[in-house]
Amino acid sequence: MKPSKEQQLWMYEHMLVSRYFEESIEKIYMEGKSPAFNMANGPIPGEMHLSNGQEPCAVGVCAHLEPSDIVTSTHRPHHVAIAKGVDLDRMAAEIFGKKTGLSGGRGGHMHIFDPKVNFSCSGIIAQGMGPAVGAALSRQMQRKDGVAVAFLGEGAANQGAFHESLNLAAVWKLPVIFVIEDNAWGISVAKRASTAIERNDQRAAAYGMPGHFVPGNDPLAVYEVAGEAIARARRGEGPTLIEIETYRLAGHFMGDAEGYRPEGEKDALFARDPIPKMREHLKANEGWSDADDAALVELTRSRVDAAIAFARDSAYPEPEEALEKVFV
């Protein structure tokens, strides 16, 4: 299943939006945090986990999804949210803690909920998996179309919830796809130090489902593998596990000194940045010109700039609103 030119451009466009969104957040996050770096300060306080470099996982999978399909993501959710079609203005406003944010400022960057496109995420490792299984169960029981996709990090594949969710999904033959974004690190702990096998897709065999590994952080390859898995789920043939080799071009979170990385690792990763690679691919194979590219970059930047401006210009909620929405 090769992506059409239109689909490739959709992926590239969303990679650009995602990357520029993260770059913008990165800059604004540092406002008010120097010379002394204190997480509590600035227009965007708290922890911040950026997704720079991991865009291929998001776009290659979400290119096959409808708004009615379900996605659960992690503490590092922005790229997936963008590819799933989460409202960019309201997501930015949420990250700024504004009243116009998706949850009026209650959730912040690790708790992005946009029910209009069935997107949610959570900061507890692997805990998005059970809910994805449950959403798939709901579609199956209601005889309704739709698949669920749970995104997770490679570190999460060592959680009990990972193994239990795979088994449950397989036993009940649910329309769910588990997508591991393998960026080789769980904070400071390398995958090889935490995981008994080299590749997590091998674990699929233990649960009687297909497992696929996608090397090279390549959106086109992700597109193909995810397309098959999602089509299979839509046909009622059950779950699939996919592990994608990807790169975390940022620290674990903002403020991470990254002293645990071997010398030269970051440079090597930047040399394989998936965005310039995708651009070169489009130029070589799809008749994409420099002028086309400049226009798309401009367009995506203005979309992000508008979202950031919306967030900045929005008002904070009243403090007492903290008491609302606990129950409905």
Binding site: F37, G46, G97, G108, G123, G160, S188, T195, V326
Partner: protein, 339 residues
Amino acid sequence: MTVASKERKLTIARAMAEAIAQEMRIDERVFVMGEDIGPLGGVFGNTRGLYDEFGAERVRDTPISETAFMGAAVGAASDGMRPIVELMFVDFFGVCFDAIYNLMAKNTYFAGGEVQVPVVLMTSTGGGYSDAGQHSQCLHATFAHLPGMKVVAPSNAYDAKGLMTAAIRDNNPVIFMFHKALQGMGWLGTEKDAIVHVPEEAYEVPIGKAAVVREGSDVTIVGITSGVHHGLKAARRLAERGVSAEVLDLRSLVPLDRESIIASVRKTGRLIVVDEDYHSYGMSGEIISSVVEQGVPLRAAPQRVAYPDIPIPFTRPMEQWALPSADKIVTAFEKMTSH
């Protein structure tokens, strides 16, 4: 001044690491495991230096497999080891609670006292820096409620070292909760009053003993971790108005030093409990009941300054509004004396 020149001010993070290192030097059975506690030295700095000194066998980075390593701590402890286990944020314990409240806390009892489970659990608590509802809770009561585990939570580096030493030497499971804002990590902001003189040699602060950190006669302010610092600030403000507030640092939630609380309230006749954990079914209710049950004569109805019963919101205006503060303690005192 000779005393000042001997001052050795440490952060809570360094005091914890020092206590662990000293016990590891004298007791081969002590080892540390958890996420990012090895070469990184812990996200909150409390295992810094241990990996370099003791190596990968005794300072173990774990996979993100809490169910397994919490259970492993129980098994290793019952077999003669003395594990110190970290789980970064108290909010994460949901994934591994069974090993804690059904095994760690109960096995000694089930075995009629014949099995010991000397585990120390370390975890961070508290908010105030906009980390939202899965990274800012205190959950003091969640742990203190369950019989069979001791619970300690220091407000300063001196107590942190002494409580850690006592916890490691204790033959029972001890949960050691450290508040992020007191940890001395610049990136979390730091309460300077938590950084105090810490003696070099090993010493114990007894588990289950509260400390009077400021003497007074008009009102007793009881707190733990951040609550102690809010209490001290409120006491200084009240002093400007001629009100003498006594501040009690519980230091341990289990065992709870009811005697010291009751003795203080007998003297002052007024009680305010400060807790960054949720308002209902928690530490504040427990302390007030303990005083009322004993029939201690009161000059006003006791007050609590605790976290409202809501998930912790991300956005700064909401979170700051919801947190306990010195202002809220002063207001509570005014309410007690307004008629």
